[in-house]
Symmetry: C3
Subunit: 247 residues, 3 copies
Amino acid sequence: MFKATINAKDFKKIIDATSNLVDEICFEVDENGIKANAMDPSHVALVSVNIPKDTFEEYISDVHDIGVDLEALKKIMGRAKSNEKLTLELDEEKNKLNLILKNDAVRKFSVSLYDVSSTNLKVPDIEYPNEVMIKAGAFVEALKDAELVNDHVSLKISEDGKFIIFSKGDINQSETIYDNNSESILDLKITESSKSTFNLAYLKDITKATSSDDILHIYLGSDMPVKIEYNIGNAKILFLLAPRIET
Amino acid sequence: MFKATINAKDFKKIIDATSNLVDEICFEVDENGIKANAMDPSHVALVSVNIPKDTFEEYISDVHDIGVDLEALKKIMGRAKSNEKLTLELDEEKNKLNLILKNDAVRKFSVSLYDVSSTNLKVPDIEYPNEVMIKAGAFVEALKDAELVNDHVSLKISEDGKFIIFSKGDINQSETIYDNNSESILDLKITESSKSTFNLAYLKDITKATSSDDILHIYLGSDMPVKIEYNIGNAKILFLLAPRIET
Amino acid sequence: MFKATINAKDFKKIIDATSNLVDEICFEVDENGIKANAMDPSHVALVSVNIPKDTFEEYISDVHDIGVDLEALKKIMGRAKSNEKLTLELDEEKNKLNLILKNDAVRKFSVSLYDVSSTNLKVPDIEYPNEVMIKAGAFVEALKDAELVNDHVSLKISEDGKFIIFSKGDINQSETIYDNNSESILDLKITESSKSTFNLAYLKDITKATSSDDILHIYLGSDMPVKIEYNIGNAKILFLLAPRIET
């Protein structure tokens, strides 16, 4: 038994955020809520989703592994209107997940389940020297600056405690500098200077589903994976992206 | 002699609605107004347009067959602004149709006439067991739901008198259900349950030029063509689409 | 030494207007401001830019030739927000031009300089029988009308002093007529009827960066190049386009 009702807008955003990196996912559901961890096909990025029970208006669940094609789910959620309620319902007999949207019409979608077994993937518990709290919109804009000159980008903490998004191409370079006076910065918890370089396409995928006012927690160290976390309603989404090895 | 003035917005919509299905058309004009019937190249859909004289601000006409390339007309009407008046004028000597738009500038377009003879095509007079009056926007949204899973769609009247837009793919399915309580439904005149299946691309073409508040009259029966009618100002446009033979 | 601060919006528009025709350009800077003349690769069109010193908030300059890739500059300026200040700064040691945008973040871009030597290109001093002052939006709309029927367009002054944008295709034709009563016409200084025909794609490139309320000065004669001038803030931009030889 699994039946859960949530506002369609939040679930749409969770699916959007996840589907940019991963094609299929196994939702591990139980009485406490929905969890899912997955790695992208190249094993460079990890995404972890946690939707606690209290995010839902109605929530009844036994323990199940629900493997779904995220592309199909994304298309269906793309059809939801922002004020709609979504009911998710497991049809164990037919091995399908039903998605029911109620508004002026009743709309029922159903998708076949995949045999995606739970991965037992754990999010590694890393300690970071630096944490940046920044509005998603400001970070996304800085990535667009970097994109003009190259396909990778360095996230740096300078000696004097500034957060620098830096990119260097063969002939051009770009640099976006945020400090404590920037309105888009909510907090800079800095203990040391650091620099790591990342594939820009992954960072764009990771931030694609954000709204510009979402608050990103970006955890940084030298040549360490970057950890990026934000909330979607009561749900939490976390990304871990391996650094690019510079030669 | 043929000279007629109409507001550009209405004529643009008539041309848009027609040109989605048909490449060229023969406007049969006379003292009562403009009529045209045409079938799409695959002979699956029929469109019938009736623009009575009183739709026009000014209307003077003898009997003529005016064959035009709808793609050219559509492009020209795409250049009209919604508050403009359009004058249509037959130049019999040069065998051209002139389209004159007056606003800040005077804009004159002229298109060569095609030798598209009047087809004597008649709209068959079919009696239908069921009629659905629904806002065009709601019907178009339901077609988009169906499009997620397959390229054809079933229009059903259920035993309990609901209007169901249903689509089934290899692994997914979608279903949009309207009943008398739906705000988008203006009327359901039901005498029996029915089901017919149609090519989705045709239904999309038929409804592409509609505004979401246009009222569609959809006539349905089992394995019968669907008839869809709506008004554009005082003009009436009607589509007949053959059902898909299910195997 | 070259350092100049200007509002980003104006500089963006100057770069947009220029880059539609030319790939690289040599800015000739001195104590009076920035000048640049360039021809498009096919030598059909000439663009001339003049940004006097008083256009800038801050301006300090020796004499330099600054050769830049306009495509790179266009991309960077595309990242500027309309309320931002832009500082241009020549780094003679590294042979780079720095572009610094200050807002919530500090953003530094730098582009390598090209060895584009000053061309000594002069704008020929031609006397024209006719001058049309027209809102850019109205002229651009007329070009779109013409585009429906052919890839070249005639700019005509009629015997009775109207400004006509005319295009003729194999089967269709279009004509947009402005006179002294048209609101989009600010002035018509006519001394004789005239007609010249131009490549439509060039005219579209020349007017692409305009806002609809910009005032174009269009200078016309029979089988003469057309000269089109407009202002961007205090800066002046001028285009000269050779006529199409009609056979």
